[in-house]
Symmetry: C4
Subunit: 222 residues, 4 copies
């Protein structure tokens, strides 16, 4: 299987493409459904300008929850993108672990909705960060399943990229766990959720480096 003929590579892509496509669709729908919690305030007769201004101000926590969640889901999508870039084969375990991941993606709009209304409550923060923790753990399970013994990967897979994916994929669940812990420590649990903003700098700091890693432009799948 090391040197597949061109034809078989092609067909294989079709199979994996469908899995990836289905995942992308679930990601795209979940990320776009988040906005359904943001609706215009009720228009009451007297002073529409004041109603609108107060209504938008009242929606501020929901808007913050939307913005944060969009970027966290986008980040997870990028991790998923990165993992599947290297997967060349599939088995049934890959499909079920991918479904487990998509389960948490599809479930997310619910904790986001809870955060939008109860973002100052510890239970809401734990529920939200817990869902993101499970999403992160599912990513790790998926990657472990695919990469063990290079089973489902490109045969000439770069070990440096392997470590890079591990560190990238590990950051979001670790941050989610830290947010849960913080929610029990800090006096205002809602503040803990802002810890998710640490994902981006941490991923940069923890990424294993290589001379060619900076400013790479890619024209191929490697």
């Amino acid at each position: 299987m090391a040197a597949e003929p061109e034809h078989s590579v092609h067909i294989k892509s079709l199979e994996l493409e469908r899995l990836v496509f289905f995942s992308d669709a679930v990601f795209a729908i979940a990320i776009t459904l988040l906005v359904l919690d943001l609706r215009a305030p009720e228009r009451t007769g007297l002073d529409p300008a004041a109603t609108l201004g107060a209504g938008l101000a009242h929606l501020a926590p929901k808007i913050v929850s939307f913005v944060m969640s969009f970027w966290v889901v986008g980040l997870y999508w990028f991790v998923h993108h990165r993992i599947f870039r290297h997967i060349r084969r599939w088995d049934e375990g890959l499909i079920w672990l991918n479904l487990l991941l998509l389960f948490w993606v599809a479930f997310l709009p619910f904790p986001v909705s809870v955060m939008g209304s109860f973002g100052d409550q510890r239970l809401a923060v734990v529920f939200y960060a817990g869902t993101l923790l499970m999403m992160g753990l599912s990513h790790l399970l998926l990657w472990r399943h695919a990469s063990r013994d290079n089973r489902l990967l490109d045969p000439d897979f770069d070990p440096l990229e392997h470590r890079r994916i591990w560190s990238r994929s590990a950051v979001p669940p670790i941050v989610a766990l830290a947010v849960i812990v913080l929610a029990f420590i800090v006096p205002k649990p809602g503040m803990a959720a802002f810890g998710f903003a640490l994902i981006w700098p941490l991923q940069r700091i923890l990424a294993p480096r290589a001379p060619r890693a900076a400013g790479r432009v890619r024209g191929t799948a490697r």
Copy 2:
């Protein structure tokens, strides 16, 4: 048609790809829309922590309904995936039978919503299991249409895989029928719905085995 030139295989994929893509999109949307029944409880002024706790507890039946339905739809998607993996040609009947299947997929959020609110009622369980029964029967019709005389299949299609798909595809509707019968027998009809969890072990038990069946890793479409 047994030995198609590379070019024609390519074009054909495009045609079938669109059918498969459309199906995947409907599956992905339906599976993700299920979450729309899960919304944050209304925030009333007095004690938000208690409101949230009680609200989430109150949503428990809807959450159970969501979790179960996500996995059943995911299972059906996998069966669909499995069927179309072997389909190489199409005719108008395939398109209409596939639309019949998608009809039940698109309809499902309604019985799921009914289960979420009336999960203890016999009528709700029958309505829900009945929809899943129809979805299962549509799969069987689709597969029978495609596989009769190998009409739409890969010419060198493995007969063992044929039996495997039959037994796989037959389990969900049989379980759905059993759930409907159970709903009339057991004193608490809502319990009958948990019978759907039997799909996974039953599929394992009933699958025809072959030496190479265990732990297969696939790099090609066969």
Copy 3:
């Protein structure tokens, strides 16, 4: 351009594929959003079995509206599928006419919602059938744009298939027009909407026939 090299065919597919993909996604989302009008009835405390039974009975017009609309949209999707099977090139006009068509597809859940609540009212039937009429006319415009002088079609396009697509595409808007007229004639305007069921037999009757037309199985895009 008659004999394009393999490479250019490939790239072209990518371009058109994106157009087709976007259209499929809008079709799939619109067809699946139709179900959002079907929600579980409100659970009121006293007699849940009676509440559910009465609630489902009350939803019957919405269910009928959903079923009918799913199949009409499915039919339009199939016509779209049929048209784009023959399109090999694109220009800006194709994109805007396709967007015009998608506009009516995306708009449809609104008249479907109106039909679900006011299906016995002439205005609702006219609004609903009028939207389907516009969708059908957009299809005809799209096909006329693509097929005039074979501009965007496969160079060796079969003239019989051309007539077949015209008759197929013309049936839904003609039926929609007939439903509008009927809504002003029959004493119960809601009954007129069932005229849409005539699309299927009419398409069969009006289709130009050819010896090879019956029971065709297709492995290629021609």
Copy 4:
């Protein structure tokens, strides 16, 4: 990298295709979710014909908001389509800038909902046009990132097309800015939003022309 072997072009397409696909899905979902603000009016017992007529008339501002927004999003989708037609390579910056663009696309249903209810209020118009302004600026950032030094483009990229994309992409955000300014000048701020209709004629007027630009039919990606 100037002359890639056929195989590598292929794989690259897969990578970029996923990015483009995800974007298309978000565009398609956002454009279709806009309709969720259009629901049938509540049916009250006395005179359904009058209720429906008055209800539809009452929904007119929401319908106008839907129609305008559909076409503006469709236009942005077309600009995105046009930009990615020339992109042949990707880097991480492209992915994040594309996510920034998708953020505004996914956010749009909220300002559209606000416009539907408060379309006569200056704050609503500024909020709506501001979102479209950000969407337009994200497009410009994306294109600048991709086209600087031809980094991510087709090596033999046509400089005229470069200028054409700049002028095309610049028109929508300039118009959005003009609408914001107008909303502070004109006595009825809601009227300012109709300025978006100027995008189409302005794009035609400002497009750099070339002899072969008129009525082009494309069979290839150039």
